[in-house]
Symmetry: C2
Subunit: 337 residues, 2 copies
């Protein structure tokens, strides 16, 4: 199945709603509405009790919905079959939210072609530490954006870039996974665009503490999540990125440094993965504009697409001017010669 | 005032409760209980309605309580004065939770003595990028622990260490702060122990994406939060760390690379700070055992203390054996010579 999140009008203002997406029928089904109708029709529930129960079972938060364990995958097919027709909306007219509201957002660096291509363009030597430790970073989830959203562009970034990635959406609270059971923790797959400021990233990587302001201004997640049962394996997903309609990078998710099972196991060692969190696959080879010698401009349209997932489309906004930025302090730490 | 979180027994099992801490009286005040009594006594509320309202105003989550804006600081003094005596518990008998349940956890690297001391011990050159970009990382909040908690020790870490830090607790959702208004966003200060695996950290820093498994197995936060009005400024807080009762590092929070106002402003550029999130001050000079040539052992007791905050005490657990770890892949990325 395909699950997403949209905004709907209500007397309380716009509210988030969980939906099933049926691209072949051109519609989404509002799950809290469908479930309430279903409980009235099949369980003798009163309308008020059915609405309260349905909103608890299908909250607007994907993280919260997945935190209820198997409820989402166990009960949704029956509800959609029973009352989906009466709770459906035209999928071309809805306002999309990020497919998940991840409590934690992490991102791998795992496709071999991108590791070498990115490093060459950044003038960096590939560290052999990546052959011992699975590379990934912690991103901030404060600025996740969904399909069709404008990408906020902070004025301190000059060299703007996109990144073509899959997002592995975690479905349960788990710790200490092993490669044998790691894929069981994955609820589904979405597209993940890890927008990046390449100029600022140079200094951030040199410090060694991970990307911060070069990364956390916008993370595209969507358009929706396709559950894992719809994929043969994590290594044969066809994906591509288009810039203003022109295909720039394209390939299959096979060329990995670490197996996806190893990435998930590594991230979960000694700490919990959280329901609804998104772990980026790392950028596909030629999946950044940097690898093509291109810098993004305001108004550029970036589309990430994968077969059986869909298209995550975002438009670059205008750079925000007048933001505060620290004044460099040469010589404060490192003696100037 | 001082705010903390404890666990209490209930018919639903142990639940988190928000408390005001009065160390001079040796007690904590359960705020949801005090508030319910207060609403009945002063507003003609029924017991059931008062309890429901009190639990919404004083949830067990510090992040959620702070998300209600000024309610916590505006209303708590009156409630404590009115019904605090009837809702108090002996502070030496309570089970402490992490002082906040941070939605996001970040950590600076900001005390000059530690930057040079840590770098020397790790055999690393201090990058001059730190004079242009404020260094900080994103940590995972999945493994926060409170006062008196045992520190989980994953078996893949050999060289275990502590770090003496303050934690700046954010009180409101804000973006694009400037040094002029940045401190207004801070609700209070707590102690933060950023436990670290120094052996693994070598490879993680070399990759440049930030600490992951060397950092995210345990983050000590507590014992409670002292609100900002109780401090003269962020630069005169006296702090120290003791290992098995012996003082190892001690000093005042003044020797910074970037002013605290600049750190907070930088982190908030282009993204939201979240109520309840904790931003580590960075480790004080000589605030790690590494700087003394010491490795921690199971059973070691680490105490972080700051004047007007309190003591965060943690005991190192036994290393967990049998955890999965990736098999190194020499030559997979970097040709072996």
């Amino acid at each position: 199945m395909k699950f997403g999140r949209i905004l709907r009008d209500s007397p309380d203002g716009k509210i988030a709603r969980l939906v099933v997406v049926e691209p072949e029928k051109g519609r989404v089904i509002d799950l809290a509405r469908a479930a309430a109708l279903h409980y009235v029709a099949t369980r003798n529930a009163t309308t008020d009790a059915a609405r309260a129960f349905a909103n608890a079972a299908y909250p607007g938060s994907m993280a919260l919905a997945l935190s209820m364990g198997n409820y989402l995958t166990d009960h949704t097919p029956g509800i959609v079959a029973s009352t989906g027709d009466d709770a459906s909306l035209d999928m071309n007219e809805v306002e999309w939210l990020p497919a998940s509201d991840p409590p934690v957002l992490r991102d791998g660096l795992n496709f071999l072609g991108h590791i070498t291509g990115w490093s060459a363009k950044m003038g960096r030597t590939v560290p052999d530490a990546m052959e011992r430790v699975v590379p990934y970073c912690q991103n901030s989830p404060a600025m996740v954006i969904g399909n069709n959203a404008t990408v906020p562009w902070p004025g301190y970034i000059n060299h703007m870039d996109y990144e073509l990635e899959l997002g592995w959406v975690i479905g349960r609270k788990v710790k200490n996974l092993t490669p044998e059971n790691a894929l069981d923790a994955v609820f589904g797959v979405t597209m993940y665009n890890d927008f990046s400021g390449r100029d600022l990233q140079q200094d951030e990587v040199a410090i060694g503490m991970g990307g911060t302001k070069a990364k956390n201004f916008a993370h595209g997640i969507g358009p929706w999540i396709t559950t894992m049962d719809e994929f043969k394996d994590p290594y044969s997903i066809e994906m591509e990125v288009r810039l203003n309609g022109e295909t720039k990078g394209k390939g299959v998710s096979s060329d990995v440094l670490w197996r996806v099972e190893e990435v998930l196991s590594f991230v979960s060692q000694g700490e919990y993965l959280q329901p609804g969190e998104v772990i980026g696959s790392g950028t596909l080879e030629k999946g950044s504009a940097l690898e093509h010698g291109i810098k993004l401009k305001p108004g550029d349209v970036v589309e990430l697409e994968a077969k059986n997932i869909g298209i995550l489309r975002n438009v670059l906004g205008e750079p925000e001017q007048g933001m505060w930025w620290p004044t460099a302090q040469p010589g404060k730490l490192v003696p100037t010669s």
